[in-house]
């Protein structure tokens, strides 16, 4: 599926997650955040960068990882990305949401 954000055609899956991370920019992240009613702050971006680093290093994302990240504590993480913080933050970060095998 293709959606257009800021005049750019972006490839996404049925749930709106980017399927090609090379298309991600901060502007696109900002727009995806708006769709989730999130106004991005420096703290948000710090978390997004950390998530992107984890994915680039092939490390699984989990709430435990957040706890140990040193970037943010878990309560704050929920406050910044309400309604399922991992699935919301990964969407903004342009990376796949954490999945199981089915």
């Amino acid at each position: 599926m293709i959606i257009t954000i800021k005049q750019v055609d972006i490839k996404v899956n049925d749930e709106g997650y980017l399927t090609d991370f090379s298309q991600w920019t901060k502007e696109i992240g900002e727009e995806l955040a708006k769709e989730n009613d999130i106004e991005m702050t420096d703290k948000h971006w710090e978390v997004i960068s950390w998530i992107q680093e984890q994915v680039a290093a092939n490390k699984p994302l989990s709430i435990r990882g957040i706890k140990k990240s040193g970037v943010i504590d878990i309560k704050q993480f929920y406050a910044l990305f309400p309604g399922g913080p991992l699935k919301v933050s990964t969407k903004i970060a342009g990376v796949p949401k954490p999945k199981s095998c089915i």
Binding site: K75, P98, S100, C101
Partner: protein
Amino acid sequence: MKNLVILGAGTGGTMMANHLVSKLSKKDWTIHIVDQYKTHYYQPGFLFLPFDTYTEEQVKKVGKKFIPKGVNYIQQKIDKIDAEHNLVHLDKGTLSYDILIIATGSKIAPDEVEGMMSTEWKKSIFDFYTYEGALALRNKLREFKGGKLVVHITEMPIKCPVAPLEFAFLADSYFHKKGIRDKVEITYVTPLSGAFTKEFCSKSLGYLLEEKNIKIETDFAIEKVDFENNKIVDYIDKEIPYDLFVTVPTNMGDEVIERSGLGDDLNFVPTHHQTLQSLEHENIFVIGDATNVPASKAGSVAHFQAETLTDNILLYINGKPLKEEFDGHANCFIETGKNKALLIDFNYEQEPVTGTFPFAGIGPLKLLKESVLNHWGKLAFRWIYWNMLLKGISIPFVSRNMSLKGKNINN
């Protein structure tokens, strides 16, 4: 004389011993395998123990039976791997190695969550990922008269990621059969965004929970078990009450990995996804649940890995480049209750889809669809495990790399 040392005589380690014993020259190499435990468990059977489908005897055998002649079987606790000096320190003594295979698996770590390993552990809080846990749960279920059953995943990654879902399905069948299904409320609680997180699976299987009247709670990241008040609590103070709490605790690699400084923060060993060589040490290889590769932690995965790893160890010995061959192939039966099961066949890239297996258009097994034959396949698998898989015998018509044949890729 050179030494190849295998750590762990579970599924992966035992298969490697069987593969390598006939391939390494006996005059140049000694193969050692180290494991402190005497019993080899058929871990997929732990799913069936709680429901009295399998007996204790069906899921355990003496491990020694599966270690081939000509392999030195050392029954000792592993203290530490000294990768800088190619040494393994055991309880009594030290082994030096030229090649090391780490097959130490993964295990549950219930003390990672506050209140889980409490006085209620094995009373109202259970796991079924250990033999002891599955048996204790069986005894509890025999007496269970009704109430709230919560089936729960603490965090990913876990061994056999579908097992908790299968547990919920089998529980539904079990209580129906006992005539008390109307007295049991089953809730499936996951830290993920759904019971099915992949596109085709959620499309094809989404009906299952509703059909079985299983409630679902998603995005639940557990903070603690309030064992005094029978409820679990997440980080935004959401509470789920239970009478019987069946959880899959955090899964971690063995402590020996942590003691040796070889793992990530879950004690899994950073491993090359395609060659299965350790990323840190070229003479260390890793197989099965002990790796950090993003494949399922499942016996079938270890089986496919073992074939690639055997080739790569021979290539390594001969100073040749390793094959970047392993594709994350997994092949798993999923029980859906009422004597039916699904079959999934997938890899790192290809998510499970519908189709036929192993023969295109013929089957006889159906992918991602419930069928009675798949259920019989799952039950037959126990025989295959003891008699073929552990001995390193290939399963006929099932190749180490996933095949696209028979799969409906664009469904």
